[in-house]
């Protein structure tokens, strides 16, 4: 088993397509780092003047319309409270713009790394990039073996299919873990480089960020990379074709993640990206539309945000992985290898 596993790793490393993908990953990470540094640079010259003008316009608007904005907020809150008495828009917290808001150059390093809404390099961009690369590698590694017929040769050396299967999915999993590690490292270093290049310190906006948020996210991203590799390899054994697997990946991202999830909010908690985000960030929210008759007897709908915890995300991801692995194994046991 160890020999098989080592041979699989060696073979994957020597595959041209996989080397090119690894190179593409590094290139993408370098580009991302540069973009992050560029966008986080301090305001100067025209940008500073523009920011000043923007602030003045916003302040003037608040001066004129602030009271009506506040009133609109309270009316909307009152409407929602008819169906949900605990609902709040936090209208009292509304206040006019400040100069600092417009002139602030970049968020702090922890916000850049962890906040899904402000860059989220470690919890959003990193997993997206590495996940895509891992799935492509699985498609090429496994699909390529079926396509080239090399699997036939391999099985004449080791006919125990379960061993062959396990060694292959573990190898792809291991490669996935390495890719996730490298990506997470970049996604950690990129914000650090960005803030230090701008002369900002490594101060974080939340206390104990490195211990309570960064470390779990970093370690779990590696675990998630492994899981993604294993699940993708299992799926590749089911599909047995590189192009088909890539097609399904693209189709899933476009149809399910981008389009269907917007149309049917009820499936939001089944999205792989949402669950991955819950694992890495510790929690995430997803919108759910709730409809019903309010106190006035009217049919009304409102969007509420449900919270998904890390445990739920992990459980769902493991179930999906187990399904892929078992399906791939069962089919590989029975199928004729050509």
């Amino acid at each position: 088993m160890v020999r098989l596993f080592k041979a699989e790793l060696k073979r994957m490393w020597h595959r041209d397509a996989i080397r090119w993908l690894s190179l593409a990953l590094v290139a993408a990470l370098v580009v991302l780092t540069v973009v992050l540094m560029w966008s986080a640079r301090p305001l100067s010259g025209d940008r500073l003047i523009q920011a000043e003008q923007n602030y003045e316009m916003a302040a003037e608007d608040w001066e004129l319309n602030g009271p009506s904005y506040l009133e609109q907020c309270r009316e909307a809150e009152a409407l929602m409270q008819k169906t949900n008495p605990e609902y709040t828009n936090n209208c009292d917290l509304m206040e006019g713009p400040t100069r600092e808001q417009f002139l602030q150059s970049s968020p702090s390093v922890d916000v850049m790394m962890a906040s899904p809404t402000q860059g989220g390099t470690l919890t959003m961009m990193g997993p997206l990039i590495s996940g895509t690369i891992i799935i492509l590698i699985a498609a090429m590694a496994i699909g390529g073996e079926f396509g080239s017929g090399f699997l036939t040769t391999w099985l004449t050396f080791e006919p125990r299919r379960t061993l062959v299967y396990v060694s292959k999915i573990l190898a792809v999993g291991a490669v996935g873990a390495v890719i996730a590690f490298v990506t997470s490292l970049f996604m950690t270093l990129a914000p650090i480089l960005a803030v230090t290049a701008n002369g900002q310190g490594l101060a974080t906006s939340s206390t104990n960020f490195w211990g309570s948020a960064w470390l779990p996210a970093f370690l779990l991203s590696i675990v998630l990379g492994f899981i993604t590799g294993v699940a993708s390899a299992g799926l590749a054994f089911v599909l047995r074709n590189t192009a088909l697997m890539i097609g399904i990946l693209v189709g899933y991202i476009v149809l399910i993640e981008a389009i269907l999830s917007q149309a049917i909010t009820a499936i939001a908690n089944l999205l792989l990206t949402k669950n991955a985000m819950a694992i890495l960030s510790g929690w995430t929210q997803y919108p759910v539309e709730q409809c019903g008759t309010n106190d006035a007897g009217e049919w009304a709908c409102q969007t509420v945000y449900n919270t998904m915890g890390r445990g739920q995300g992990l459980l769902y991801t493991l179930i999906v992985t187990a399904l892929c692995v078992v399906a791939g194994w069962a089919l590989f046991q029975r199928r004729e290898i050509k």
């Binding site: 020999r3 080592k6 595959r15 080239s148 099985l155 006919p159 125990r160 290898i337």
Partner: protein, 463 residues
């Protein structure tokens, strides 16, 4: 290699009643095969006859739907893992990653087997790939790819090598290289199973063969025995071929025209033909025996005649140790039984007439001797077993309920017996060999003897 020698030893590969279905389509239908240890064994059959499927089942690449298989004495797929280390195989085309070098491809496989990398150098040297060891597979010619596949198969230093259509797509040079490599392996004492539909290739390599069609075994034995058991044709050039044909047909010969030539089928004694013509003052310009090669035997076995027509009643005798006769498992014998020393049944002549063109009957029963060769039948007494027929086995088709293959060990006589006997009856001029593989140049009045290869084609025998 004869049946006796085969039966006394173990078989490298044995299958019994092997079956494989793809949906409703039967790919392998009760296949029985015995591949003796040592030497090259040809596995012949038309495209789609089930050769590759059989090999895939032996190697565990596909499941079988019935029957038994043994590799080097171990039942597979149950104990495949125990023997796979001793089996090297190339199934269909060589399959490696295009971007890997020959050396790296082999090193990966050596790693899996826990073999040192100097073994890789060794097999590269053996297959003449040392100079290309660090070239990528995608740059290889088909012949080199095939050699790399053979090198991979040799890595394990296997006792048994299985090559599926190894010369497919190769140019003549490549075919020669692969053929020589396979011959060398056989000479080195390894067992090589080579499946092919290229009969001339197999004929040049194989010591023994199994011929299959529609997933069933048709014949099995040594090449010489199988080809030797076929009656040969006689090609004649004569001044008035139309008249000659009439004369010979009238004399009871089976004659056909081929342009200006006439061909007399199933001639055991060319002298009889010469006499028949001379009696009408007709003298041949040129007479050449066309000895049957494996191809003609193969075509004869697999084309034209339905499987059921091959069914014959053959003497009942115990099979050699470890060898169950083809078709036995699925098709119990229902025809008349003959003991080892029994003579042919009383109605054998009628049976022989009906089976004159039948392959298995020709192989196994003296009664099947052509009518035009009565002397031959007399010269082949029941129970005789000339050495040349040893080991030849023909499998009766499973579609025939009465089919029962027999070993030549117990066959009363064989066509080669017939041919040889009749050859003895023909008195050639001094210096002329009566054995197969000779020509008579009547016009020149000279006779030349050819080495008795038993595999000679018309080109070989002609001028």
């Amino acid at each position: 290699m004869t049946l006796d020698s085969i039966s006394r030893r173990s078989f490298a590969i044995e299958t019994r009643g092997l079956k494989k279905m793809y949906g409703k389509r039967v790919a392998v239908d009760g296949l029985d095969m015995n591949v003796p240890l040592g030497g090259v064994h040809g596995f012949l059959g038309p495209n789609g006859s089930g050769k590759t499927t059989t090999i895939r089942m032996l190697l565990g690449l596909t499941t079988c739907d019935g029957g038994e298989m043994n590799l080097l004495g171990k039942p597979v797929p149950k104990q495949l893992t125990q023997v796979i280390r001793h089996v090297g195989a190339v199934v269909e085309q060589p399959k490696f990653f295009a971007g890997f070098t020959a050396r790296f491809s082999l090193e990966l496989q050596a790693d899996v087997m826990g073999l040192p990398h100097n073994k890789v150098d060794e097999v590269l040297e053996q297959t003449g790939l040392t100079d290309w060891a660090d070239d990528k597979y995608r740059t290889f010619s088909l012949g080199m790819k095939q050699r790399l596949a053979i090198a991979a198969a040799l890595l394990k230093d296997p006792e048994l090598l299985i090559f599926d259509e190894p010369t497919n797509g190769l140019d003549p040079g490549g075919i020669y290289e692969v053929r020589e490599a396979i011959r060398d392996l056989g000479r080195a004492g390894r067992t090589v199973l080579i499946s092919s539909h290229l009969l001339a290739e197999v004929e040049q390599m194989a010591d023994t063969v199994t011929i299959i069609a529609k997933g069933r075994t048709l014949a099995e034995g040594s090449v010489n025995e199988i080809t030797g058991n076929r009656s040969s044709d006689l090609e004649i050039a004569i001044r008035d071929p139309a008249t000659a044909r009439l004369v010979l047909t009238h004399a009871g010969f089976d004659v056909r025209s081929e342009g200006r030539l006439i061909v007399v089928h199933g001639v055991a004694d060319p002298a009889n033909v010469g006499r028949a013509l001379a009696a009408r003052n007709m003298y041949v310009d040129h007479m050449v025996r066309r000895n049957p090669d494996l191809e003609s035997v193969f075509l004869d076995l697999t084309d034209g005649i339905g499987i059921g027509e091959m069914a014959i009643d053959v003497p009942d005798a115990p099979p050699p140790p470890g060898a169950k006769r083809a078709g036995e498992a699925d098709h119990p014998r229902s025809g008349p039984s003959l003991g080892p020393n029994d003579t042919a049944p009383a109605d054998s002549e009628a049976a022989a007439e009906s089976a004159a063109g039948s392959r298995s009957a020709t192989v196994l029963a003296p009664a099947a001797a052509p009518r035009s060769n009565p002397a031959a039948a007399q010269a082949a007494p029941s129970g005789s077993r000339p050495g040349g027929t040893e080991g030849t086995r023909a499998a009766a088709a499973s579609s025939a309920p009465s089919a029962r293959p027999s070993t030549a060990q117990v066959a009363p006589a064989s066509p080669s017996t017939v041919i040889e006997a009749s050859a003895r009856g023909w008195v050639p001029p001094p210096g002329h060999s009566a054995s197969s593989g000779h020509s008579v140049d009547a016009a020149a009045g000279s006779h030349r003897a050819y080495p008795d290869s038993g595999l000679r084609s018309i080109e070989d025998g002609g001028e």
